[in-house]
Symmetry: C2
Subunit: 428 residues, 2 copies
């Protein structure tokens, strides 16, 4: 059987999973592709650290030995970070190599540039593993929503924060305690900033937006809020009102314009996203024709992510055999403006600290009414004699009006806004 | 822009949805494929019935005018039933036409035959819409589990029965009342046999088994049980023990052998399938590498099913452009035996009618013990003075042992088995 030789950059968690799947599932892969896949050469930082575990593979510290090997048509980049990964991928593409990568930071920030270089060199550049680990969401959007108009993509796309939030919700832990537990279990890094501040989820939403709408957005186009400031009191309060809390990424099309955000949100307990626990991810896609579909699976981890890399490797292998490399992973291109704050509407949850003297609640309702925002639920939850804690869930209002409300509350001085979260509507 | 002309057989619910999506989403489709798709000619039984609604399309009662049109490279079959659809598809394939069909009965029973004819004629035969309506499960298995070893596929794959079961569970309706409501709402046909007896779900499990394991099974290889004999009392009883009830299709690989079944099952309330309501479908796929992933969406309906047909049309269009038609939809082939009853293990729920005299429960536990089956929960729920109703949930036991138990109970004569259902285990 003819061979397809693979070169790899990096041999960490995902990389070693890729080697493992290729070896363990060789028979099925050969049966499907008609080729024997073999990891020929891997560039690593420290050969000695890996050489006992990977006896059959050439390990090298010389990246060029991988990038310039004429026997290798597929390069798998699993190093992570922007540089030097970007330079290596550019060199690989320019050398006529097809590239498979799991590097979301790179694709989110430099994807369109790399896509052009791949196209110019008539090679594939694919990155299923960059979003939602084991969930094959990118290829599904490309293939199965090709004829549909996507109207909304929302989901839980960061496993670390979902693990932390699950601990906070189910065990009543504080953010700090839940983060510590996640770090001890290896679900969070020692510097968790990218995960807990929503940056990682934002990169995934940038890629999902490109696939769903064909439009490139950049990090500064998104509103991004992480989970580090969430107060356990709000989680408890939300629960009594029929909601759980999740870090939700959303990319919505509103009259042809896009609103992309990552923020903690109140999720109704009967909403499909409410059931997604721990390190799992889920993506809900709403199409004009198909309605709402949901894709759930492990959002990270060695083998799920490696499996997504393998699905890319097999897709590229088929294209090499058919002579059809060079077609862009997502060929859909559409220019769209960003939606303005007056177009983006949702119900909101507001927690406020209000002086426990007459007239304050009236003042608050006055502020809301002035901003054309009506109240769905209001609960006064505690008072220490001096201040009362009031929680309001509004009916749908625009982001512009919400900002007006926030400004008025600030101007008032006496009332203060403790927290403010979007509320998802129960989905069918 | 170059055109791709489409011929259709049938213009019912799904067919008119296909026309609608092609017209309404033309711009996106053209942008992605680089072609203008046009439904040129449709064979219908009654031209007059459709001609006002579809002014721009040639309608004909002459099927050959569609099958033999040299301008048409893609034929969409949405007539349903085995014949004459099968003859028409064979003729289309032999004429060198690519065929898209939503016909699960046909694919489940004659798929392998049709696949060979397509291959011989170097054309595509695709049928994403034949399983789970709007959920793109077949293409996902082909693309995203290509390198993984699937170990289990289970799901709710019939919308009609899930609607009926949802009514029975949430409103305490009897089967007959829920069926009548489903018929009034158009969710069940006037002759509901195929749906309620599990045949439709079985066809879908046959197709899913082919995709998951590369193995062809036939209807007689499956154990199939419908929902028409479900007693509302068992649903109520299951609820008190932490379960809901669903019609579950499962295709499991056990030591390289396959067990494929459709039957009502007790589903733990925290299991992902427990949340799938009304006409929705869900498929859980467990892979050795990826773990458990779930795909949820509308299981039927005009636009969701039409969207799956469109994803097939676009895949075929791309293959026509690239000159790569003729590759089998699912290229995975593997021979596997059927698992024997001693290999298939699960916990079971047994509801029994037991004479209300001393020694009967002892006798029952004796029968279970003889069959090496231990009890997890036992509840005596009612007694009319003469008989008691006893419900047992066993620990895992094999189908062979269950059959032994059923035989012994029958031989006893005094105790009688009212119902017996598989119990799903809580999945991670």
């Amino acid at each position: 059987m003819e061979q397809i030789k693979i070169g790899m950059l990096g041999l960490g968690t995902v990389g070693s999973g890729v080697v493992q799947i290729i070896q363990e599932h060789q028979e099925k892969i050969s049966q499907i592709t008609g080729r024997h896949l073999e990891v020929k050469r891997v560039a690593v930082r420290n050969v000695a650290a890996h050489k006992d575990e990977f006896k059959d593979i050439e390990l090298t510290t010389d990246v060029n030995a991988v990038l310039n090997d004429p026997e290798i048509p597929i390069i798998v980049e699993v190093m992570g970070s922007i540089q030097p990964a970007m330079d290596y991928i550019v060199q690989a593409l320019e050398n006529g190599k097809n590239v498979v990568t799991a590097n979301k930071d790179l694709i989110a920030q430099h994807g369109s540039e790399l896509v052009k270089i791949a196209k110019k060199n008539n090679v594939d550049l694919v990155y299923e593993a960059s979003v939602a680990g084991g969930i094959p969401i990118l290829r599904t959007i490309v293939n199965s929503f090709a004829a549909d108009q996507i109207e909304d993509v929302k989901g839980i796309v960061n496993g670390t924060t979902n693990y932390i939030m699950t601990q906070m919700v189910t065990k009543g832990m504080t953010y700090q305690a839940a983060l510590k537990s996640a770090q001890e279990l290896g679900f969070a890094e020692s510097d968790p900033t990218n995960d807990v501040e929503g940056i990682d989820a934002a990169y995934k939403m940038i890629i999902l937006t490109q696939f769903a709408y064909g439009t490139n957005v950049k990090l500064s186009d998104l509103t991004v809020e992480g989970i580090s400031k969430i107060d356990a009191a709000d989680i408890k309060q939300a629960r009594t009102m029929g909601y759980t809390m999740k870090l939700v990424g959303e990319s919505a099309e509103i009259n042809g314009q896009l609103a992309v955000s990552v923020a903690p949100a109140l999720v109704p307990l009967e909403h499909p996203l409410a059931t997604i626990q721990n390190e799992n991810n889920a993506v809900l896609v709403k199409g004009a024709a198909v309605g709402t579909t949901m894709f759930v699976g492990p959002g990270a981890g060695k083998m799920p992510t490696a499996n997504s890399v393998l699905s890319d490797i097999i897709a590229v292998t088929k294209n090499i055999i058919l002579g059809t490399t060079g077609n862009t992973f997502n060929g859909y291109r559409q220019k769209a403006e960003l939606a303005t704050p007056d177009m983006v509407v949702a119900p909101y949850y507001l927690a406020l600290k209000i002086p426990d003297i007459p007239g304050q609640l009236l003042k608050l309702t006055h502020i809301l009414t002035e901003a054309d925002t009506s109240v769905k639920q209001v609960v006064q939850t505690e008072t220490d004699g001096e201040y009362a804690r009031v929680v309001v869930i509004t009916h749908k209002t625009s982001l512009a009006k919400l900002q007006e409300i926030q400004k008025e509350i600030k101007a008032d001085g006496a009332i203060s806004l403790i927290s403010c979260y979007k509320v998802l509507e129960a989905s069918k």
